[in-house]
């Protein structure tokens, strides 16, 4: 049974601009955002049977809702994020406290190295991929690789609209991969192609990539993804996945979708 950490969007909104999606002039319909979030929760709990852990929202921290950036969890160890932007650095202590209170051994990376958690570290059971340059520093990956005995292949993110790896790259439980190649340079694309065979890779079309089709949550043979991505859904169905589109456009105003709103605990 999967457990996922979420944070209710009580204080979600746009209060600063730290990625190309965020515009202070972009008004978030808060009521609609809350309804969209509850629909996501319903799908996860009822359709997928996931156990959800809920964090307590904190006033003044609008992005605490994006729990993918709390850190990463491996077994009983949690590595807490060190955010690049001061606006989100204030979240670190809350995530850290949550992990400690729930019995995790907390690991922090040295000061000066940025790491934005599961937003930039994704993978398959055997090896992981690490997104760097936009938010996380490449220097964190050798540290985590040594600590968790996993190969971590760094991938440079070259398009600021896809500022976290989980906005353009989604490994699936059957070894398949949804990704948007233009978010990577040729070295990254080659490295991905070396690892994931052609037939297992879906190049998400640009219109769906910009709806964050890759910001999907995969639990077993279920994939929860933003609504409005038919090509991605078709491909997933052909590969034997059940798809669960959820309208999350209010969160897209902040540059986040299904995956950003969740952190897989185990």
């Amino acid at each position: 049974m999967s457990r996922i950490l979420v944070c209710p969007p009580d204080f979600f909104g746009i209060e600063y601009e730290i990625n190309p999606w965020m515009r202070l002039t972009n008004h978030v319909d808060h009521g609609r955002a809350v309804r969209q979030w509850h629909e996501l929760i319903r799908v996860l709990e009822q359709d997928l049977g996931v156990i959800l852990e809920r964090m307590t929202p904190v006033p003044g921290l609008p992005d605490l809702v994006f729990t993918a950036n709390a850190g990463i969890v491996v077994g009983r160890t949690a590595v807490v994020s060190r955010f690049r932007y001061p606006e989100r650095q204030r979240e670190e202590v809350h995530f850290e406290n949550w992990f400690r209170r729930h019995g995790y051994e907390v690991m922090t990376v040295e000061a000066g190295i940025h790491f934005e958690g599961a937003g930039d570290l994704l993978g398959f059971p055997e090896y992981w991929f690490g997104g760097y340059r936009q938010r996380s520093d490449i220097g964190v990956f050798p540290i985590l690789s040594e600590r968790f005995h996993r190969e971590i292949i760094p991938l440079e993110l070259v398009d600021s609209r896809f500022y976290h790896l989980d906005t353009c790259f989604c490994p699936l439980s059957g070894g398949e991969l949804l990704y948007f190649p233009a978010a990577f340079d040729s070295y990254g694309r080659t490295a991905i192609a070396e690892r994931v065979p052609d037939k297992l890779r879906l190049t998400v079309p640009i219109d769906e990539a910009l709806k964050f089709a890759c910001n999907a949550v995969c639990v077993g043979k279920h994939v929860v993804l933003p609504a409005g991505c038919p090509a991605t859904q078709d491909w997933l169905r052909i590969r034997g996945y059940e798809t669960h589109p959820v309208q999350l456009d209010e969160f897209m105003r902040s540059g986040g979708s299904a995956k950003c709103l969740t952190l897989t605990l185990d």
Partner: protein
């Protein structure tokens, strides 16, 4: 020459991710060069790899730009130690653990900055001035008590030679010695360099002098006229030799013999073996070679050409010398010092037909000076290479043939 260097360290899963390839491509695309040092590739998927990359650039700004560009990909600048310095315990004695130089360009790290070593030469020590702002290579015998000398190996780095841009024989920078190799193109390349250097020398540019170190076989074998012509035409700017080359050159002028053999007749002349002694005696009687030339006693030949052209000559004595001629330095330490003083400014060295002078000169030359070693005996260029002068191009041929062919290519008509 890439004088600006920094070493960076890259670790992680840098091979499969192509991060190493990306960093190396970036360095090259931006106009730098790199040497990969200590590459370790992880043996399992989990094990990380690491690489140390030495980056070289022609300017500090470019180096900084490259470092700035590759740091986001994980390249971290190596924190290097300053060199260690100890004082010489007494005159002529180095601290026990002194750093012994090579003849390659060398730098030391002082106060966090890399400093070039002046007058680099193999088998010396490094002297640092009291302010720590300059450093130079210094022979053991010249060290004074209390001099600041680099000890240990920390904070010292040797800069590998860059392949020269010229695509000539010196571009290979290796002393393959073979009598079977064709000589024509090597001599043509030397001639091309000499033409360029003469032009640069006339414009008083740096490192434009041609040094010739030669033995008496040049005279015996019949290379005297060709070498004289080369000096008169301004192709040779410094001469290192011994008592014998000078003596036989002037013997030829006075008696038409070389060590008693008629140079034109090609046979021993009666009492010819005395000619070089009589020559030396006559020069001694007028006090100097210069006086012999200016008085008209010596009219032609290598020494006369040197005097007339103002080419400095260092004559180093040996244990078997007759006389010796006035001007021969019989104290070998003083001779070495006199030779060393003329090395800065040399842009090409020709070491012809003398084991002793070739090896001695080779020891004084930085690896950056293109060098040719010509001898009929292959063991001479081999010996030179074995003693560290790897940059010397070895040419197994007779001295007279070499000099005549060189002069011919440079325009001499016979």
């Amino acid at each position: 020459m890439n004088h600006h260097q920094e070493s960076v360290y890259l670790r992680g899963h840098i091979i499969d991710s192509l991060v190493l390839a990306k960093v190396l491509d970036l360095i090259l695309m931006m106009g730098g060069t790199f040497d990969l040092e200590d590459v370790h590739i992880g043996k399992t998927r989990e094990e990380a790899s690491h690489a140390r990359i030495r980056i070289g650039t022609v300017s500090r700004t470019l180096l900084d730009d490259i470092l700035k560009a590759i740091q986001p990909h994980g390249a971290s600048i190596e924190r290097e130690a300053n060199c260690r310095i100890d004082r010489a315990p007494t005159d002529g004695v180095l601290p026990d653990d002194f750093y012994a130089t090579t003849h390659l360009p060398t730098q030391i790290r002082l106060n966090g900055r890399w400093l070039d070593i002046d007058r680099i030469e193999m088998d010396l020590a490094i002297l640092v001035d009291e302010q720590g702002s300059a450093a130079q290579a210094i022979p053991m015998g010249e060290v004074r008590r209390g001099n600041r000398i680099v000890v240990g190996r920390e904070g010292v780095r040797i800069i590998p030679l860059q392949r020269p841009q010229e695509r000539d024989v010196f571009g290979f920078m290796e002393s393959q010695v073979s009598a079977e190799r064709p000589h024509g193109h090597i001599i043509a390349d030397i001639a091309t360099r000499m033409r360029q250097l003469r032009e640069r020398h006339r414009q008083k540019q740096a490192d434009s002098q041609v040094l010739l170190a030669g033995g008496p076989a040049i005279i015996h074998a019949g290379g005297r006229e060709a070498l004289t012509w080369l000096i008169e035409q301004g192709f040779i700017h410094i001469l290192f030799c011994g008592n014998a080359l000078a003596a036989h050159d002037m013997e030829a002028d006075l008696f038409g013999t070389s060590l008693g053999y008629g140079l034109t007749a090609g046979r021993a002349v009666p009492h010819g073996h005395e000619h070089h002694l009589r020559t030396i005696n006559r020069i001694r009687s007028v006090g100097s070679i210069e006086a012999a030339v200016t008085s008209g006693m010596i009219r032609q030949g290598i020494m006369a050409a040197c005097i007339r052209q103002g080419v400095p000559v260092v004559m180093s004595g040996t244990i078997r010398d007759d006389g010796p001629l006035p001007g021969v330095i019989t104290d070998s330490v003083l001779a070495q010092r006199a030779m060393r003083a003329l090395i800065p400014g040399v842009g090409l060295a020709l070491l012809v037909a003398s084991t002793l002078h070739s090896v001695a000169t080779g020891n004084l030359l930085p690896a950056t000076v293109p060098t040719v070693c010509v001898d009929v005996n292959p063991s001479v260029p081999t010996k030179l290479a074995d003693r560290g002068s790897f940059q010397a191009v070895g040419l197994v041929m007779d001295a007279a043939s070499f000099l005549s062919e060189l002069a011919r290519v440079l325009g001499r008509t016979t």
